[in-house]
């Protein structure tokens, strides 16, 4: 056991693809800053039929947040809830294990499934973040249509993604099914090349 246990270290979803450093255009400040967000705790929460108020109360007790309406994302620091479908949300917390016990806490109110390893998440910022995203996202990201606290489940380069906006600079976060990380990265790198892209180790 002992000699094997040392091997058990998680591997980041972006490890194989995201090379730290400057990519694309070299001169001037980078238009896009990308930070892979590894090690988050993620869980999908799907409401049981009729759970309504009970679930909302249990969520408030656990997160101090209300359940976001369709298209909304609510955060308290780095912990948040992102609407991801009718009666369905994605819960986020900063460190693996932070959402342990959520299933038990929501017993009979919601089905909880750990997704910490199922989604690969990127944080995107920088002056051209929106222009980069507009190459792939068909949803309107203009500030009049999409702002901090909004989310969309959609596709980028034929890859299903969930996108939410964290602040109005703007900073976005993008979650993609883990197995697609390589293909999504290759799209992102090409889309960002004209603006210059800086990949950082963490947000």
């Amino acid at each position: 056991m002992a000699e094997i246990a040392t091997l058990w270290r998680p591997r980041g979803a972006w490890d194989l693809y995201a090379q730290i450093g400057r990519h694309g255009r070299r001169d001037g400040p980078a238009g896009l800053i990308v930070a892979p967000r590894e090690g988050l705790a993620l869980a999908s929460i799907t409401a049981a039929d009729g759970a309504g108020d009970g679930l909302a109360e249990a969520i408030r007790a656990r997160f101090g947040l209300s359940l976001p309406e369709p298209g909304a994302a609510l955060f308290s620091g780095e912990t948040g809830l992102v609407w991801s479908g009718p009666d369905q949300w994605l819960a986020l917390a900063p460190a693996r294990g932070d959402l342990d016990g959520l299933g038990a806490a929501l017993q009979n109110l919601a089905a909880v499934a750990d997704q910490s390893d199922g989604r690969a998440v990127l944080r995107l910022s920088g002056p051209d973040a929106r222009r980069v995203l507009e190459k792939g996202v068909s949803v309107d990201l203009h500030p009049r249509a999409f702002a901090a606290g909004r989310t969309a489940v959609t596709a980028v380069a034929h890859i299903g993604v969930q996108l939410w906006q964290r602040d109005d600079r703007p900073t976005y976060e993008l979650a993609v099914a883990r197995s697609f990380a390589g293909s999504l990265w290759s799209w992102l790198e090409e889309a960002a090349a004209e603006f210059g892209c800086e990949v950082r180790a963490s947000a």
């Binding site: 298209g71 479908g85 969309a152 489940v153 959609t154």
Partner: protein, 110 residues
């Protein structure tokens, strides 16, 4: 084409996949006849005009939707979550059954 998902807002039709006419109702249960099932699986009206049809928001919230579309113009006048439509239909069917049972019941009492 653009379809206004009741949850996600208006999206490109590329995010959706199409099934077809929403009118046929599955004959559930062990006593479903093969004729009724045949009609459910195969028979469609193929109307020129307004039709209620099923779409799936595959690249979005994964909702099945009932879209009211004019097959001549592609004009979409209504989009509803299929689950809500189906629940309402179930409730209406149950109500209708109750109504047809009640007079017969009172007749037997008479």
């Amino acid at each position: 084409m653009r379809i206004r998902c009741p949850y996600c807002g208006e999206r490109d039709n590329g995010e959706f996949s199409y099934l077809g006419d929403a009118a046929p109702v599955r004959p559930d249960g062990m006593d479903a006849s093969s004729e009724a099932m045949h009609d459910y699986v195969y028979l469609r009206d193929n109307r020129a005009g307004e039709i209620r049809e099923l779409w799936y928001h595959a690249a979005g919230c994964r909702s099945w939707l009932v879209v009211t579309r004019d097959t001549r113009t592609h004009a979409i006048t209504d989009v509803q979550p299929a689950r809500e439509v189906a629940k309402t239909r179930r409730a209406e069917t149950r109500l209708a059954e109750t109504r047809t049972v009640t007079p017969a019941g009172s007749a037997s009492h008479a």
